[in-house]
């Protein structure tokens, strides 16, 4: 009966398998290691990430892209995004360690949930089937819900987790409903086969578009763009800052992979339809994100709204890939590599900005209001400089990474003939520059209200400095990164 069963090739999925095994090992170590568990769990988690990175690096350009009956894809995009996911998770772990230790939250379960969230992201990035995409998303989301609520005594965190959970469940439902419609129309769950079915044109367009609307809603929720953005500020604000940092970084890469795989790889035949939806969401996100951020007094909420506008920018590039349903390889490549570069740049900047918020927090004190940044220059000129770099880069001021990211996105949109949208985006990012510059003004021109010395571990200080320098100095070299994105997309 099983004579026609072929053992799936496990090599392309080596990083995922390794991470699963390591997560189980860490689970057991954390249970039985007793008093030395604190010394073991954290380092073992980092070892697991390094192992995964090594394996992904080794597997670059593997000739067997599909495995597990076509449900798992291993290509350049997957490797590229996974490497950045490892980097982002690694940085989030290092930045968050001191903060969580001060609050007694650095339990073994924290590391485990982070690892399983990472696994979920990897599954999403490598998904070539609606089924695995959904399962990866659930694995990621469940871990995140628990992480948000990990500080059980904080009512704010519990409320945020509850909101996140309820809205996330709703979004999963929408996504599944859309997937089921597309399955009904095409008869397959495999993303590459869906694309073929669309090309053959046998499927009913009405049913497909109906499914597409739900699918886009699910993706929009995960990215956190208007009108599915309500959870973002509350969750960012309510969660412990170290968890906010994690949510604001690596999962964005996975959500981008989800959008790319579902819309571009799968439903490219419906590009004309989803372009309109993405354009609307992009314009609304850029507008609302930038305007609402101005009104915020809490820096976590401000960065949440800024994240919404950044995701809008990313969508702008994603929708510029084709014009009038006509595929032009060069233009598509430009647009998707711009989107990919934008998301990577955003993740790096966001890690740095939240990292600085963590740096200023200490036991029993949360530096989460804008006032807490007053006079940072007098307390620590170096980290004030770093924060200034992150803020300028996020505002899109030359010649930081953020500027080149915005620039390539706008170029792609102009190439697609979306001049009006580009003008709106530029106007709103100019308005948005106000709240980034306000942080800089507070740091440099106001007197400090708090004169406590900045206590942070050496590794965090070094990594944060490296992060800042990367944002400052990699700008002129962004060509290399864009070319890497393009190569990844081509393979």
């Amino acid at each position: 009966m099983l004579s026609n069963f072929v053992m799936p090739d496990l090599i392309p999925a080596a990083p995922e398998l390794f991470l699963t095994i390591m997560a189980c090992v860490i689970l057991l170590v954390d249970l039985f290691a007793g008093s030395i568990r604190r010394l073991l769990t954290g380092p073992l988690t980092l070892v697991a990430l390094f192992g995964c990175a090594l394996m992904t690096w080794q597997g670059f350009g593997d000739p067997t892209p599909l495995t597990f009956s076509g449900m798992f894809i291993h290509d350049g995009v997957a490797d590229f995004l996974k490497l950045f996911v490892y980097l982002a998770v690694f940085m989030a772990l290092v930045y968050g360690r001191g903060y969580l230790a001060d609050r007694g939250l650095d339990k073994g379960e924290y590391y485990l949930l982070v690892l399983f969230a990472t696994l979920g992201m990897m599954v999403m990035i490598s998904a070539n089937s609606f089924l695995t995409m959904y399962l990866g998303l659930e694995m990621l989301s469940l871990s995140l819900y628990a992480l948000v609520a990990i500080d059980r005594d904080s009512t704010r965190a519990t409320e945020a987790a509850m909101k996140y959970f309820v809205l996330g469940a709703l979004a999963s439902g929408l996504l599944l409903y859309g997937m089921s419609m597309i399955y009904g129309a095409t008869g397959t769950l495999e993303i590459s086969l869906v694309a073929q079915a669309l090309q053959a044109g046998v499927a009913s367009k009405t049913v497909l578009i109906f499914g597409l609307a739900f699918l886009v809603a699910g993706i929009a929720f995960k990215l956190g763009v208007v009108p599915f953005h309500m959870w973002v500020p509350d969750v960012y604000h309510g969660a412990p800052t170290a968890i906010t940092l994690f949510i604001a970084s690596a999962p964005k890469l996975a959500a981008f992979a989800m959008a790319l795989r579902l819309l571009v790889s799968g439903l490219y035949g419906l590009a004309e339809q989803w372009q309109m939806m993405l354009m609307l969401m992009a314009v609304l996100s850029i507008g609302l994100g930038n305007l609402a951020a101005i009104a915020q007094r809490n820096i976590k909420r401000m960065l949440a709204y800024s994240g919404i506008s950044h995701m809008g920018f990313m969508l702008l590039a994603l929708m510029s890939g084709s014009v009038g349903g006509e595929a032009d390889l060069m233009r598509a490549l430009d647009a998707y590599s711009a989107a990919m570069y934008y998301i990577v740049a955003y993740v790096i900047m966001s890690l740095g900005a939240f990292g600085t918020v963590l740096l200023l927090s200490r036991a029993g004190y949360e530096a989460e209001n804008l006032e807490d940044f007053k006079g940072l220059n007098e307390r620590s000129p170096w980290f004030a400089l770093m924060m200034m770099i992150f803020m300028l880069s996020m505002a899109g001021i030359p010649f930081f990474v953020g500027f080149f990211a915005k620039f390539s996105v706008l170029l792609a949109a102009v190439a697609a003939g979306q001049i009006a949208v580009v003008v709106i985006a530029v106007i709103f990012s100019l308005i948005g520059a106000f709240y980034y510059l306000r942080v800089i003004k507070l740091m440099y021109f106001d007197a400090p209200t708090d004169s406590a010395p900045i206590l942070a571990s050496m590794d965090m200080k070094i990594l944060l400095s490296a992060n800042g320098l990367a944002v400052a100095l990699l700008g002129p070299f962004s060509d290399v990164l864009i070319r890497a994105c393009r190569l990844a997309l081509l393979s």
């Binding site: 379960e109 399983f116 696994l119 089937s129 990866g136 694995m139 469940l142 046998v202 009405t206 049913v207």
Partner: protein, 201 residues
């Protein structure tokens, strides 16, 4: 009308009624019981589609296990239904409009001739065909990857449940059953040797 079509309409009608009652019932216990009814009818629908295993699994897992647990939870909790209904009428117009638009869209999509065009598999399987066996074969061969992913999701759920609920409180008196069981009689009684207080004269 064939018997199968008749059954389909019967099950669907009861299912829709039960689903509506789940969200409109004033008593939460009644809502849960209506949900059980809805599950039974969904299982009936699956039976008419020849998906016997799924129908039985739905009854056993959802009705037998999940809903009974749910019933316990609902009965334990003190649910204040009037507080839950606060703001119901304020949000009603928007929700109703959205719901109507969705329903209209669904009717429009589902009434296209695509679903009636016979693209879908329509013949019956032979009598000796076992979909349980087929499901098992698929789960452990072609779908082994999603199957394993689902198991990892369950592991995540266990870890999350433990981290969110397990508390070692030190501020309350508690008994440690393990210590109670391991106790020896020497721990309970201390035999003290002491000389008699006064020598007998």
């Amino acid at each position: 009308m064939e018997a199968k079509t008749l059954l389909f309409y019967l099950f669907s009608a009861v299912l829709l009624f039960a689903a509506l009652r789940v969200i409109t019932a004033r008593n939460p216990v009644h809502a849960v019981l209506y949900l059980v009814l809805a599950f039974f009818n969904a299982a009936g629908l699956w039976l008419t589609l020849e998906a016997e295993f799924l129908a039985l699994a739905l009854v056993m897992v959802y009705v037998g296990a999940v809903m009974v647990l749910f019933l316990f939870v609902v009965m334990m909790l003190d649910i204040d239904i009037t507080r839950l209904r606060q703001g119901f009428w304020a949000n009603m117009p928007l929700a109703a409009t959205l719901g109507l638009v969705m329903a209209a869209e669904m009717v429009w999509v589902l009434s296209t001739d695509f679903f009636a065009s016979g693209v879908f598999f329509n013949e019956s399987m032979p009598a000796d065909y076992s979909n349980t066996k087929e499901l098992g074969r698929l789960l452990f061969t072609d779908y082994v990857y999603p199957f394993e992913l689902a198991s990892i999701i369950l592991l995540v759920a266990i870890i999350a449940a433990v981290v969110l609920t397990l508390r070692r409180r030190t501020d309350v008196r508690h008994l440690d059953p393990a210590k109670q069981i391991a106790v020896k009689h020497a721990d309970r009684i201390r035999v003290v040797q002491m000389p008699a207080e006064k020598e007998a004269e």
